[in-house]
Symmetry: C2
Subunit: 650 residues, 2 copies
């Protein structure tokens, strides 16, 4: 007996002695019919947040009230709405209104829609949301990304310059169908599909979109009259360099100050320094008014700065929307709601919220509004301005309406260049470099995904950029399934603990045992891999022990160190399909050839069930032999190593 072995021997001995372990049987899973299982699985899939919890055990009358409140959250906070609430709601409402007006105009421009549509969109939807929405901080209205994508997607079909009317109609019908899709997804509790936009994808996408948008603004900033409507950096740049000679001093003269005015106020500053919310709130409006006055004074519109033109509306015609668009604009809305709900720690039912926003857009589309959702920047301002309830949205909408009635004529003089500046500052805030750095440090693959969506958006197209990024993320998930982790466990001497042998230096392998932990559900995608991998672990084991004997006494000596049992820790195998069951049969056969026994530790209910059923089918090799299934690795080792010692004596 060589020292090292003795060491190991002792380990296992000590264990056996130390814990005169009373072995615990692996209980058979509680009986449940396939129907019950199906029911619970469906519940987990579609109602993970259990929205009906509050209804449980309530009198039917109360149930009706609760249902009404669930449908119309206004009934929850409405009754006990106080004056103090109202005060702070008015303040915040006016604040976001001062943001909503210039942004509304700008974003409409971004979508190649007449600016007044932007204002309408900050008027009707907020009212609807105030009734249906369950978030207290979200400020709804047009948002940059959605406007951008809508514009670029529609421009591919119709030229907003040539056929503005059809373009407008397309815009409204897109809004309608986006709303319809969203509402139905919410109703069908399929909201979770938006989770497939990973953080990395969004960061990359936003940055890419921001750059494209800013470049497109060069049009108004440089006063270029003929400009490409395409997304994609190449067409944009080309038409910039093609026309830079046209730069008008006047444009710069106006752009300079307004940009300087706006730039120190990135979109999320108001999140970081709440007290300063009025800055980000006031500035855009200020610059609009300022510049309007200047232009009015200079009558600059005669000197060639093209000014806002107003169009009138019509009813909508049918058009299908690309998934990526719906995806993104849903995503923003819900994300905003979740974020602020988390801040004030109240719950927002994602699917309910989707329905609210969806209905909001359906109604909006018929009142000449284009796509709206919860705006991140304005919601932040709203939150910091101390909004208490959705009433702040109402106040905003009223303010906007007043503006529409009284001040609209004045906006004729607002130069595009200022709107351009507003857009640029708004979207530049979407470039989140710290997040990019964090992603790089935390997860290299996510960083790749981020780059993919970034360059995809910049060089190819919004849709493709997203598709690639989402595809990569899903592919990685599949790969994790196809190549699950298998860890070799070792014992920490003098304890019942078994930990990853390659992570914990003080863990030692127990002679005669190969202890593996399988870290994923076993199914058709990984059954073959697992078999090969386990075989390889066994080969490694043999190799180690033989070579190490050679070194020690030059001869093969196979008594205690040779492999007797392969223990599979099944704690993490959360599911098993038919191919997975077959794996165990094959494995068992393969091990028997080598005179090694297969031991299972702590299999979950489902796994036990399926293996049992499989056995009742195929008479022959039994996988769940009572003496080869244990609740813990420690117990298995304790029991079986004594068995080994017996064998050795004979």
């Amino acid at each position: 007996m060589d020292p090292i072995n003795n060491g190991e021997e002792e380990t296992s001995k000590k264990e056996i002695s130390r814990c005169s372990i009373d072995v615990h049987k692996v209980a058979p899973p509680p009986q449940r019919s396939s129907f019950e299982k199906l029911k619970s699985r469906l519940k987990e899939t579609f109602f993970p947040d259990d929205p009906l919890r509050q209804f449980k055990g309530q009198p039917s009358k109360r149930k009706w009230i609760l249902a009404a409140q669930y449908a119309f959250p206004i009934l929850q906070w409405g009754p006990n709405y106080s004056l103090s609430h109202f005060k702070s709601d008015v303040v915040s409402g006016l604040t976001i209104a001062s943001l909503a007006i210039p942004q509304g105009i700008s974003y409409a421009k971004l979508a190649n829609l007449p600016p007044i549509v932007g204002l309408y969109s900050s008027f009707v939807p907020p009212l609807v949301y105030a009734v249906l929405g369950s978030s207290r901080d979200v400020a709804v209205g047009p948002v940059s990304i959605a406007s951008l994508i809508l514009g670029s997607m529609l421009s591919q079909q119709v030229s907003p310059a040539k056929d503005p009317l059809l373009f407008l109609q397309l815009g409204f019908s897109s809004t309608f169908f986006a709303g319809l899709t969203q509402a139905s997804l919410g109703f069908l509790r399929l909201g979770f599909i938006i989770d497939y936009l990973s953080e990395a994808t969004l960061v990359g996408f936003m940055a890419g979109a921001a750059i494209i948008v800013s470049l497109q603004q060069l049009k108004s900033l440089l006063g270029i009259t003929h400009f490409t409507k395409q997304m994609g950096i190449l067409p944009v740049l080309s038409s910039v360099f093609h026309r830079t000679t046209e730069v008008y001093l006047l444009s710069l003269f106006i752009f300079g100050p307004s940009f300087l005015l706006l730039f120190p106020v990135p979109h999320d500053c108001s999140m970081k320094r709440p007290k300063l919310f009025w800055v980000s709130a006031g500035m855009p409006l200020a610059s609009v008014i300022l510049s309007t006055i200047i232009v009015f004074a200079l009558k600059a519109q005669n000197h060639g700065i093209d000014v806002v033109r107003i169009l009138y509306m019509h009813l909508s015609s049918l058009v299908s929307l690309s998934v990526s668009f719906i995806y993104l604009y849903m995503q923003e809305g819900i994300a905003v709601g979740r974020t602020f709900a988390a801040l004030k720690s109240y719950r927002v039912d994602g699917n309910k919220e989707m329905m609210a926003i969806g209905i909001m857009n359906i109604i909006g589309s018929s009142t000449s509004c284009y796509v709206t959702t919860g705006s991140f920047s304005r919601s932040a301002v709203n939150h910091n301005a101390g909004a208490k309830t959705a009433v702040s949205n109402v106040v905003m909408s009223v303010t906007v309406m007043v503006t529409l009635l009284l001040l609209m004529p004045l906006f004729r003089f607002t130069p595009n260049v200022v709107l351009g500046a507003i857009i640029v500052t708004a979207v530049l805030g979407l470039i989140d470099l710290p997040a990019a750095r964090r992603i790089w440090r935390i997860d290299k693959f996510d960083f790749l995904v981020m780059l993919a969506s970034f360059f995809g958006v910049i060089f190819v197209s919004v849709q493709l950029g997203l598709a690639i990024a989402v595809g990569m993320s899903i592919f990685r998930m599949l790969l994790q399934m196809t190549r699950p982790t298998t860890m070799v466990l070792g014992n920490i001497p003098g304890t019942n603990l078994y930990t990853n042998l390659h992570h914990y230096k003080d863990a030692v392998s127990v002679p005669g045992f190969l202890i593996l932990s399988i870290q994923a559900p076993i199914n058709f995608a990984n059954a073959n891999y697992l078999k090969e991998r386990i075989m390889r672990w066994m080969a490694d084991y043999e190799a180690d022990h033989i070579t190490h004997h050679h070194q020690l006494q030059g001869i093969k000596q196979h008594s205690t160190t040779s492999l007797h049992y392969v223990i599979l820790d099944m704690s993490c195998v959360s599911a098993l399909d038919t191919t997975g069951v077959t794996l165990f049969k094959d494995l068992k056969k393969a091990l028997e050839c080598k005179g090694v026994e297969l031991v299972l530790v702590n299999p979950i209910g489902e796994v036990i069930e399926k293996l049992e059923r499989a056995e009742s089918e195929a008479a022959g090799s039994i996988i769940l032999r009572a003496d080869l299934v244990y609740l813990t690795t420690a117990e298995a080792v304790a029991q079986l190593s004594s068995a080994i010692n017996l064998k050795m004596m004979m």
Copy 2:
């Protein structure tokens, strides 16, 4: 203090007293550079079976020999090939030849190719495989499924009746590109894609295909002259009922006996009753010879049974092959290899095997052979006939060649009706009802997948049927990721064991603790769900304890039973992405609001690393606080419950 609580109290007390647990620190993971990680991950993905293991630590000369042997397995068994080997190889070779000839002709017919192509295909490829193949039992040649799909796919483009020559060329080029694809997939170590054909999918598909094929054979069985070449049950049936008047007595008179001769020999009988291998081997040939003689005697070909017509070959032109085809025919080849390797317990490198079969087809296509692979039925016979090495393939190929030279003229008289009977009996063996029943009993969803591919193949098309089935399987995997299992753990009184509270009846929840085990990698797809689910578990906990207090003493009493710690058992969280990291930050924040601490148990190396990095980024909430990370749940509970008791005293 109410009794129940006392009970629980004692539990946790006992625990603390019993195990004066020496707390083990969670070790930081061993330092590895991103490059090292990438390297090991790539290895796991592409070389899970570690084919280069044998090369390790060998002298360079030896390495060359090994490399040569790896490339050409013949060099392994060639040198020590004995006479006794040869004897048994000859026997088995002749046996499978007697199968290969009739099946070759029949399957070629199945692919709408001239029968001699079938014979060629049992002549050249076996020779190639004998040199390159690593399996000792596989008998290569045309197989029913591949022939069927090839035929149906090509018929959609060219009519074999109208333009037989072009059809032939398409056949060869398809073979060439199938071979090329397979060889390159093998070379790129991407063989694992065939694992995505789950057992359920295959069972369903095979059955569907078998039915279609058998129906198509009604043509020759009923002597129908004009027959649809389409797959799909409806066109087939229609043309059957349309022509049944044409049934010739003579056809039945021949079909009857030959079918009876063949039927008692289903394709896998030779697997079940090895001794009878000669039956399944001899019968087809027997019936061919018999019927040929009969027809020759009766000169029946004048009486209207259309007999085999022979065509001549040309070089191939380019065509692209549908994935499903490559998929299936690869799958069969590799599956066969693996099965028999398992039986004789020698290893077959799937990717290497793919390359072998791929090259075999590339060469084959240029020598007027169509797609070949390892045939399950013939390999079974080969195995039971006692084949020792690939020499049996050589023997077969020689026998086939001799047949080609001498007996081919005779085959002119072989009536299609017999070939039809051969095909039908061959494919009917593919309908595996026991498997279907097993799948139903083990996994209902898999059964759905099976039905999907079955009906997809029968009513729609081979490609679509497969696509649907594979899609369903993958969708389920994604769903498992999106809705991972979370188990509530409870303590088994008097032990350190923590098991699923809803599975083990004797487990009790520890007051003040909510112990959850998360059973999947945490990523963008499930981060949101997990947060909501954990919140819901907490709500459940609160609900339970409050109500149960109400019942007991009517008042809320929140000392020890109220929730203090949420313990997440991270043992099974095998990966974490950036969104996952964010989850922990949010969760921590959300819990702090409720005055609950978040405790992590046994996180794996990767998780620790990523959380640490995230913290070094975001100053603020620390997730990995030393006193809130433990190696085992028992230790965590022991430590923290004393902390709770302290709090209570104050």
